[in-house]
């Protein structure tokens, strides 16, 4: 078709014998918002890299505006108006907002000297185009995540952008920031810029996109107008089977109180927080970014020292502000960013699980390595971590399996309370359902679990009770059965 901006035909790519993409073909028209959906490992990232010119396909054709392309490279793709906003935004943290936005544009016209006024003018105009206001002279490293993303979008727009590819653009954003982003995407498509939206948050996908393309194991398994899909059918296409949401089992009335938090306070973070957690209960804590939910999670595990307040577990006082004491008392914490906070990425899977149990397997200072590794292997099996080789580095695992390794490490210490901060951030639909299954199983064994998340469907399908935080205060305590997703979203944002 003549007005097709990008056409792919039979694109195939293999990495050392493993087929990442297998004969994928589709087209994107100017001003169209297309969603590329698929689980981790389905070939989405490879497809993006090929369009960006970072990787070359083994076979297949790519055409821009009907013109067949030879070998692509990042410069050629960019010159054709294809701009990728990578998940990490690929910004320069040390440079200013203005420089980040205008850098590629200046580079593109072959500028040799720095023209500060021009760069600032371009940055100002681009920010105005998407209707946001970010100080031009701020260093990008000082900006919040949502603003970094907007800067990345502006950088794409500052040069002649015809197709903007966004890789998991909403992974790090709160509900409200997602709204802003979706509005910007609508503005862009109205402007004639096409957007390829890569996501596995299904609701957003259906809301903003005109067309949906689903990849599974490197093959295109579905394509069609967005209104032909719903969350259930998308999930079915992505996973190849139905993933039914499992509502949490009700808590028996006799369940004893496990954890008691009284008047926990940290100036500037959270304010007089009190709640109880019963054995076998899954308690959700939600709130917008900056509501204090993450600070609260860290305080529960002693990573942050509160100014005052009391935490008791089984009636015994927990020393505040000391992660070792919290772990000793039976509290486990699985951090939000498992990549930076939770794992030793280059160490083996077994070593990562065993690290928390060194004390228990020490005999007068000598380590019982065999016993330690046996225990680790046992947990690997119980949490069904899919690993070809337990001695392989953790880095080689998929996101969902990495999350399981962190869980396995904590389970090996037999904690009484587990604090899970964003348990399924960056995890695909199939793994997410499995992680939710694990949460339910652990609760059934009598653990108290606190899930901190802004993924509302996740909270609704795992928690018996949801606490809402706003500006550092606990403002609501909602039994999960009595609230719908839209209702919850409204209570969070209002």
């Amino acid at each position: 078709m003549l007005n097709d901006l990008v056409t792919l035909d039979g694109v195939t790519k293999t990495y050392s014998g493993i087929t990442a993409l297998d004969g994928v073909g589709f087209s994107i028209a100017a001003g169209e918002a297309v969603c590329l959906a698929g689980e981790n490992g389905s070939g989405k990232s490879t497809l993006i890299k090929i369009l960006a010119g970072v990787e070359q396909p083994d076979r297949g054709e790519i055409a821009f505006s009907g013109q067949r392309q030879g070998l692509l490279n990042p410069r050629l793709s960019a010159a054709a108006g294809i701009k990728v906003i990578f998940q990490d935004f690929s910004l320069f943290p040390n440079l200013t907002v203005a420089e980040n936005i205008a850098f590629s544009a200046e580079l593109g016209i072959g500028a040799k000297l720095v023209r500060r006024a021009r760069m600032q003018d371009l940055a100002r105009r681009t920010l105005e185009r998407i209707g946001v206001d970010i100080p031009l002279h701020a260093a990008v490293e000082t900006l919040p995540v949502a603003h970094k993303q907007l800067v990345a979008i502006c950088r794409a727009l500052a040069t002649e952008a015809k197709l903007i590819i966004m890789d998991e653009p909403t992974a790090a954003l709160t509900e409200r920031e997602v709204r802003v982003l979706l509005d910007i995407i609508r503005r862009l498509t109205a402007d004639g810029v096409a957007v390829l939206f890569v996501s596995h948050k299904l609701a957003e996908v259906l809301e903003v996109c005109q067309k949906v393309i689903v990849l599974r194991n490197g093959q295109k398994v579905a394509e069609g107008p967005a209104h032909d899909f719903d969350a259930a059918s998308l999930t079915r296409h992505m996973t190849g089977h139905d993933v039914a949401p499992r509502p949490p089992a009700p808590l028996p009335a006799t369940a004893p109180t496990l954890l008691r938090v009284e008047g926990l306070h940290k100036t500037g973070a959270f304010d007089d927080v009190s709640f109880n957690l019963r054995a076998g209960e899954v308690l959700g804590v939600s709130g917008l970014l900056g509501s204090g939910r993450t600070a609260l999670a860290k305080a529960l595990f002693g990573l942050l020292a509160p100014d005052r307040g009391r935490i008791t577990l089984d009636g015994r006082n927990v020393v505040l502000g000391n992660p070792l004491a919290a772990a000793e008392a039976g509290i486990g914490y699985v951090p939000e960013d498992r990549l930076t906070e939770g794992l030793f990425l280059t160490q083996s899977i077994l070593q990562n699980i065993a690290i928390g149990r060194l004390d228990a397997h020490g005999r007068s200072g000598i380590l019982d390595l065999g016993g330690l590794m046996d225990e680790a292997r046992d947990w690997l099996k119980r949490l069904s971590v899919k690993a070809a080789n337990p001695d392989a580095p953790v880095r080689s695992l998929s996101g969902g399996n990495q999350q399981r390794v962190v869980l396995a490490r904590w389970m090996a210490r037999s904690p009484r309370v587990l604090v899970l901060n964003g348990p399924s951030v960056g995890v695909d639909v199939g793994s997410k359902a499995e992680i939710h299954g694990i949460i339910a199983d652990l609760a059934a064994q009598g653990l108290g679990i606190i899930v901190i998340s802004d993924d509302l469907p996740e909270l609704l399908s795992t928690c018996q009770r949801i606490l809402v935080m706003k500006a550092g205060k606990l403002v609501e305590d909602i039994p999960a059965g009595q609230v719908t997703e839209t209702d919850l979203a409204h209570r969070l944002a209002s």
């Binding site: 990042p74 410069r75 690929s90 943290p93 040390n94 590629s104 040799k112 000297l113 950088r155 993450t294």
Partner: protein, 328 residues
């Protein structure tokens, strides 16, 4: 004007002032033109080295081989000029030094930019290699009679005078070369896209590659540029010392990097200013030149420099950490 105390520059400037006040209090003769010219003279070679170290640190790398490049260059230049071209004027010696420096720098450039090897490992290797090659194959004997061009340059002064007590002071013309190197580097870093690309690479190599910056080309430039500066510094050093001693200079590299880091450049790359670098060099030279005045034994020099580095780089890092903890 507000002063940002979380920046190294402000801190280092403060320490310099405090140091001068202390020195002036214990020796009234400290505040004199002689002290100033001594200070400037001490900063000539160190300053050129520091400018090179700064540009490498900003690009996200580290170079420890520049002292070996300088020593190699000055020795070979002196030897070649003596043997073959004694009639060459002083400026040609400088140009020749820059040329040899560029060649040696390009070896670093090939290994780092083209082959993608880690910068510290490469430059540790070439440091040892350049020095070893010179001592084994070229010579170990001091060249006490420099070629006429270098001797002429060694005698060039821009300021000359006599103190009240009859001693002489002077400022070598090479000081202008250092100033020129600083100005030129500033212009490259802040007024050319090449300079901004050096900052960009230091900020994030992956991002730079993704927006189409020629990372290899820029890195190659950086190491050649450092080679040129090192070669220049080598010729200046031997001209001023009036001898080309192959055992000179090597060993200075960590003090130079310390001065640059003291001035606020980050080892992680992407950050650093020439103001900070100049202040860092000033402080280190000041400590080297004047600890004696304060009655502190010379062996305490390195302890004092170590303490300054710990305070100068530790304090801002500690403040940043506290600010981050407050924000969380």
């Amino acid at each position: 004007m507000t002063i940002d105390w979380s920046r190294n520059e402000a801190l280092v400037a403060l320490v310099i002032i405090a140091f001068c006040a202390l020195a002036a209090a214990s020796d009234p003769g400290f505040l004199s033109i002689a002290t100033l010219t001594d200070l400037l003279r001490g900063g000539i070679v160190l300053g050129i080295f520091a400018v090179g170290a700064l540009i490498v640190l900003i690009s996200g790398g580290i170079d420890v081989s520049f002292t070996a490049i300088a020593a190699f260059t000055m020795y070979v230049t002196a030897m070649v000029l003596n043997a073959a071209m004694p009639w060459l004027p002083w400026w040609a010696a400088l140009v020749m030094g820059m040329g040899i420096g560029a060649c040696l720098g390009s070896i670093n450039g090939v290994l780092i930019a083209v082959m993608g090897l880690p910068t510290l490992i490469v430059t540790l290797g070439t440091l040892s290699m350049f020095r070893g090659f010179m001592l084994t194959f070229i010579g170990q004997k001091q060249i006490t009679t420099l070629p006429p061009g270098m001797r002429e340059f060694g005698r060039m002064m821009i300021v000359r005078g006599e103190n009240a007590d009859g001693s002489f002071y002077s400022l070598h013309a090479a000081f202008l070369v250092t100033v020129l190197a600083i100005v030129l580097t500033w212009a490259i870093l802040h007024r050319t896209m090449l300079g901004r690309q050096i900052f960009a690479i230091g900020g994030s190599v992956e991002s730079a590659r993704r927006i189409g910056i020629n990372v290899r080309g820029v890195q190659f430039f950086v190491y050649v540029y450092v080679g040129v500066l090192a070669g220049l510094a080598g010729i200046i050093h031997s001209s001023m010392a009036r001898v080309a001693n192959p055992f000179d200079l090597v060993g200075l590299e960590l003090s130079v990097i310390a001065a640059v880091v003291l001035g606020g450049a980050r080892l992680a790359g992407g950050h650093g200013t020439l103001t900070g670098t100049v202040l860092g060099v000033t402080l280190i030279v000041l400590v080297r030149n004047s600890l004696i005045v304060l009655g502190i034994p010379a062996t305490w020099q390195s302890v004092a420099i170590g303490v300054l580095i710990l305070i100068g780089t530790g304090l801002p890092a500690w403040q940043a950490k506290r600010a981050a903890a407050r924000a969380a």
